[in-house]
């Protein structure tokens, strides 16, 4: 993260991976609930619920369950759907009914943006597929939002371990 000192650049995330599968299949794995349930989320998480209305303006709602059994609902709206090349969608925390949960609800403050914009591209190279996920830069408040939502990771557990032991 060479750009980490520059807030504007440092807040954009790009993650890319080459997968040994044809593009159509990779696109399906991303966009069909029965596939998504098999792999979405970090290690140890499950996806007990997933609905996807795959069209511009269509809504998705997904539940990720942490290894500790905590549920994280995420919803969003597709801005672009170009099968099997490109997806652009918003991404927000939600409740089980699909209502966007605003950061104001957990005390982070009404100014915190609750919506992320994510672009996913699928490029085929000789039977393999390069998938690139790009998060557009977030407002500074958004990180408080994410942190307060308790995104699970070893790092966070460490930080929590120290804070909770106080």
């Amino acid at each position: 993260m060479a750009n980490g000192d520059d807030p504007a650049l440092g807040r954009e995330i790009i993650v890319t991976r080459v997968l040994d599968a044809p593009r159509e299949l990779v696109f399906e794995a991303w966009t069909q609930p029965e596939h998504v349930k098999h792999w979405w989320g970090p290690k140890g998480f499950t996806t007990p619920f997933c609905e996807i209305d795959l069209r511009p303006g269509g809504v998705f709602l997904r539940c990720m369950r942490s290894p500790e059994g905590r549920d994280f609902w995420v919803t969003g709206v597709f801005r672009e759907v170009v099968a099997p090349e490109r997806l652009v969608f918003t991404d927000s925390f939600a409740d089980a009914e699909g209502n966007v949960v605003s950061a104001a609800d957990d005390g982070s403050g009404p100014d915190v943006p609750v919506e992320r914009l994510i672009t996913v591209t699928f490029e085929e190279h000789a039977g393999s597929t390069r998938v690139t996920v790009r998060h557009d830069g977030l407002e500074p408040g958004a990180e408080r939002d994410l942190v307060s939502q308790g995104w699970a990771s070893g790092l966070e557990s460490l930080a929590e371990y120290v804070v909770e032991a106080a």
Partner: protein, 116 residues
């Protein structure tokens, strides 16, 4: 954030004794002697851990010559828990799982076991 800072934070946090020292400091500053007691460690033993924590910027030492009390510096910890890192991990781990799943799917297809 500079990755070398993150590396030193990771390295410092990798040791259980150092994590316990940080947990103790989360409730307030303490002298080396006070930190050594619960761990049944020698003062030089604790001092070694404190040096690692200090280098990683996770603690600072007071200027009172005799006791030089240690206190927790939370900023690097917060940085380590930064959402950029977390989101990156989120996607990397998702990709790992997707990779496994796609292999499984294609193996099944190869064996003639079609599946939706």
């Amino acid at each position: 954030m500079p990755s070398d800072t993150l590396d030193s934070t990771f390295a410092a946090l990798a040791d259980p004794t150092r994590r316990k020292i940080l947990a103790r400091l989360a409730s307030g500053e303490a002298s080396v002697k006070e930190l050594a007691e619960p761990f049944e460690m020698t003062l030089p033993g604790v001092s070694k851990h404190l040096k690692v924590l200090e280098r990683a910027g996770l603690i600072s030492r007071g200027r009172v010559a005799q006791s030089r009390p240690c206190r927790l510096e939370a900023a690097p910890l917060r940085e380590a828990a930064d959402w950029v890192v977390r989101y990156r991990r989120f996607w990397e781990q998702g990709f790992d799982r997707l990779d496994d799943y796609l292999r499984e799917l294609q193996r099944e297809e190869g064996e003639g076991g079609e599946r939706g």
